[in-house]
């Protein structure tokens, strides 16, 4: 029987006061990179926590050498996790990074979620305290190592003074400091008071470890919090419980954009379990004792809706709109030796291939629906929310309540999935509009699955038009790619700006700036990289290249969805490269390799996936009877991923329909730089493949009469257990700076699958979803 001693959630214990580290912040030092490339760390304590950050008094008396570490008087050491845990394992990987340099077993670190505070800004995302963009490990790697090294020095210096020895003669290992010549030793805990009270000397040099010395980074440690997750003890936002807490739902209009003209809540109020019925901007709120009591009361409401739907009425019109947009010239985002005349001329001597690819709107479909719990009392506001952007949530609460930060506490809970959905603060705002009328009592707003599917910031639809020209010797001479899609930044900026602007900015100004920027993106005046990312960066050596972007905006809210623009650009690029390979009558692996530089990272992952899949002995077919395979490679968020998808074709005809094939195996090779936790990288690749397959096979959001058609999992299908393939992941180890892992496994799946299905059936998929 195994228990998980590292399970988070144990509360801090208030102990005797220790002089705060704050008194020793005088030493302003710096980080410098020496000529030898060694990162030398000075003592930069400017991000040191103080005891007066509005926390509730928990842990007063802790020694806090930096924003991420708290040494408690009772010997416990707390790691402040400033990123959201949504299954990507930051709860384990970030402490490991710091523990490596601190020379402490990561299992000795208890993890607590950090509060909202600008010092926890994510350097990869404009210093907003948010989790996304596959940036947590990448953004924290050096910072946390520095923090660990600095802290180690503080204790080494304290021990050196205590023992009257040179600091250089002290070794640290697993939380124990020792001086071998005299045999003196002490733990961090034993040196705590001295370290906290003594002004440290400046180290003569403080180096970060050479990667060859890593004892923790790169080695799988026990995962954190597993016991809680398998015993039902893990608490997500939707599980928030407080004394006297009520539950709320919002009865929404039949189509987005309609407003309530009037309503009669008398019958609903008369039902058992219903406490309050009132209007909020998004509909009619019902507050009561359980989710079921308030949900069933919706039928008893009489609501008159007015206005017209803001979402489109006919879905075919939307799809047509994107195809029409392809007729516009668009904005050139990359051009190399391009000339339209040349392309026409080339077409006369080479082979021209043209294709149009279409992808649909997609929902995030986090399994935990959106929810937010608010206790808004007279002078304070406390919120519990599964959010990817704690910094933005805090700002939203501040803006809506008008309260000062010190009187606001936003708890970031575990997330039952994120995928980009929980960057947005719409459900937090909605919960506040409800809580405003339920003051002094905690109220938990819960969205139904229908609410969730219908009120998303969808992965935008897109249409890609690609033209390529092959020379007589089967090389790609020219490549012309135009993409029509909607700007994701235009819907995100109004949400983000409050987290970017100084706190003294009037809320109206932040919103106004956000609105201006949004218009800039929608009109195409400002280029939104997410609309075309993954295309200008394609790695193939092509003499003449042009990439153009056209904005198409049917008025549907769009947002960051796992891998963002890459989620559809890779489908277009890697399908088209495959079509070129077919036209060139070449093996798709060899065709790609022939167009890559010798030292290309893409080459390494392609070779690795080819080897594990046995591609060279069984390319495109032959590994087993009726098994056909497809290949794709893509790089995003700093990581390069190649995949092979094997499908077993059953036919009976050449038509690609349900039952005509089964996905047998998926092979993944990933180069993400230094790996912190190998098993986490594998798990993220496995999960990304399943996520990408769901989208490729079934994912589609369509709009009819202003409503989303696919409002539950019977109509918005996801891959199920019985359909999931075997997945084999190869990690290409390196000591390069760690890159993104949460998203890069998604983009190659759809094209690899489509390429396999072409080999199997002779039919080319150019429009997703497949079914």
């Amino acid at each position: 029987m195994t228990l998980d001693p590292t399970d988070p959630g144990r509360k801090g214990v208030q102990g005797p006061a220790i002089i705060s580290r704050r008194n020793f912040l005088d030493q302003g030092m710096r980080v410098s990179l020496s000529a030898a490339g060694v990162l030398t760390v000075g003592l930069d304590l400017t991000s040191c926590a103080s005891l007066a950050h509005g926390r509730s008094g928990e842990g007063r008396g802790a020694f806090e050498p930096n924003a991420w570490l708290r040494f408690l008087p009772d010997g416990r050491v707390i790691f402040m996790l400033d990123r959201a845990e949504m299954g990507q394992g930051v709860i384990a990987s970030l402490p490991i990074i710091l523990a490596e340099e601190l020379e402490l077993d990561p299992a000795q670190l208890e993890v607590e979620f950090a509060p909202a505070d600008r010092k926890y800004g994510n350097p990869e995302v404009m210093n907003i305290q948010m989790t996304g963009g596959s940036s947590s490990v990448k953004g924290a790697f050096t910072t946390l190592r520095e923090a660990g090294a600095q802290t180690r020095w503080l204790f080494v210096d304290a021990a050196a003074k205590a023992w009257g020895v040179a600091p250089e003669a002290i070794q640290v290992r697993d939380g124990m400091l020792s001086h071998q010549p005299t045999g003196r030793s002490a733990s961090y805990s034993e040196l705590l008071i001295r370290a906290a009270r003594t002004k440290p000397r400046e180290p003569s040099s403080l180096k970060l470890k050479d990667p060859s010395q890593f004892r923790r980074i790169g080695i799988d440690a026990p995962a954190r919090g597993l016991l809680a997750k398998v015993t039902g003890q893990a608490k997500y936002g939707i599980d928030t419980k407080n004394p006297n807490q009520l539950v709320a739902i919002v009865a929404r209009p039949p189509a987005a954009g309609l407003k309530c003209k009037n309503f009669d809540g008398a019958a609903a109020l008369g039902l058992n379990g219903v406490r309050q019925v009132f209007q909020v901007p998004s509909g009619i709120a019902i507050v009561g004792s359980t989710y079921w009591h308030v949900r069933r009361a919706v039928d008893a409401l009489k609501i008159l809706w007015e206005g017209s739907p803001t979402l489109p009425k006919v879905h075919a019109d939307i799809e047509q709109g994107f195809l029409e947009a392809l007729k516009e010239n668009g904005k050139v985002v990359k051009e190399e030796a391009w000339s339209e005349d040349d392309f026409t001329a080339l077409g006369k001597v080479g082979k021209v291939i043209e294709a149009v690819y279409e992808v649909p709107y997609l929902a995030h479909a986090t399994l935990e629906p959106q929810n937010c719990t608010v206790l808004w009392s007279e002078f304070a506001c406390e919120v519990w929310v599964p959010t990817q952007a704690l910094g933005l949530a805090h700002e939203v609460v501040r803006r809506v309540t008008g309260l000062r930060s010190e009187h606001i506490k936003v708890h970031s809970t575990l997330l039952g999935g994120g995928f980009g959905r929980r960057l947005y603060q719409d459900f937090v705002v909605e919960a506040l509009t409800v809580a405003e009328q339920v003051r002094g009592v905690p109220v938990k707003l819960v969205w139904s699955r229908e609410d969730d599917q219908s009120n998303d910031y969808y992965r935008p639809a897109a249409a890609h038009q690609v033209r390529g020209c092959l020379t007589a010797d089967q090389r790609i001479l020219a490549y012309d790619h135009k993409v029509a899609t909607s700007s994701v930044l235009s819907d995100a900026l109004p949400v983000w700006l409050p987290g970017l602007t100084p706190t003294f900015f009037p809320p109206g100004l932040s919103l106004g700036l956000g609105g201006l920027a949004a218009r800039g993106f929608k009109s195409g005046l400002l280029a939104d990289d997410t609309s075309f990312e993954g295309i200008p960066s394609l790695p193939y050596k092509i003499e003449r290249l042009r990439v153009r972007s056209v904005q198409c905006d049917p008025g549907i809210p769009v947002g960051f969805w796992r891998s963002v623009g890459h989620s559809h650009s890779a489908f277009a690029v890697e399908s088209f490269i495959d079509e070129l390979a077919v036209a060139a009558k070449q093996d798709p692996l060899a065709f790609r390799l022939a167009h890559l530089a010798p030292d290309s990272a893409y080459r390494r992952v392609l070779e690795a996936v080819a080897e594990v899949a046995g591609w060279r002995t069984s390319p495109t077919a032959g590994i087993a009877p009726n098994v056909f395979r497809g290949l794709a490679v893509h790089s995003c968020f700093g990581s390069c991923v190649a995949q092979v998808v094997d499908v077993e074709w059953a036919g009976p005809s050449r038509e690609i329909v349900e039952g005509s094939f089964r996905i047998r195996d998926v092979f993944v090779a990933v180069d993400c730089g230094q790996v912190v936790q190998p098993d986490t990288v594998r798990a993220q690749m496995e999960g990304s493949v399943i996520f990408g397959l769901s989208a490729a096979l079934y994912g589609k959001i369509s709009f009819v009469e202003g409503r989303v058609l696919q409002d539950n999992f019977d109509t918005y299908r996801l891959l199920r257990y019985g359909q999931s393939p075997n997945i084999r992941v190869i990690l290409l180890a390196s000591h390069e700076r760690p890159q993104g892992v949460g998203e890069p496994g998604v983009p190659p799946v759809a094209p690899a699958l489509a390429n396999a299905l072409f080999r199997a059936s002779g039919n080319r998929i150019r429009k997703l979803p497949i079914f």
Partner: protein
């Protein structure tokens, strides 16, 4: 009038309408939040509990079906301080990512293995395909079920904690 049933081995009584789904009795009245809400329509399986040992979707099963019967939730799979063989297999195979679906997954797997300790791939597909995992942990669920089945066959007493 109070409605009574056995919950995780103990008698419990609630005063509430009998058509309330069991899920909301567990989560909002009794405070057991291990069983999850994902769809409300028996499409995702996150709400899976056992009724007299058989797996049910508690989001659509009314309390009236449980009156006088035995309900087991994820919290009741093992005595406090212990873990069920299936839960241990889940830990050993490092199954959970976000973990939200895993209560339901485990309850479905336990129900399968309690009646069949040598399930075929088709048996497992049938038993588990009602449980969605958005994070994509299916390959590890497959491993964990294999591990648990093997351990149960080797030491059947373990299943009866």
């Amino acid at each position: 009038m109070p409605l009574s049933f056995e919950l995780n081995g103990k008698p419990v009584s609630v005063e509430v309408e009998s058509d309330i789904p069991i899920l909301w009795v567990l989560r909002d009245i009794l405070g057991l939040t291990g069983s999850k809400f994902g769809c409300g329509k028996a499409q995702c399986g996150a709400c899976t509990v056992h009724l007299n040992g058989a797996p049910i979707r508690s989001c659509i099963t009314p309390l009236s079906a449980a009156v006088g019967q035995k309900v087991t939730t994820i919290e009741g799979l093992a005595a406090p301080g212990n873990v069920h063989v299936v839960q241990q297999a889940w830990i050993d195979a490092k199954v959970p990512q976000c973990g939200y679906c895993q209560s339901g997954q485990i309850m479905a797997a336990v129900a399968l293995l309690s009646t069949n300790q040598a399930p075929s791939a088709e048996d497992i597909d049938a038993a588990m395909s009602g449980n969605l995992c958005r994070c994509g942990t299916y390959p590890r669920i497959r491993s964990a079920i294999g591990i648990a089945a093997q351990r149960l066959r080797a030491a059947p007493k373990e299943a009866r904690r």
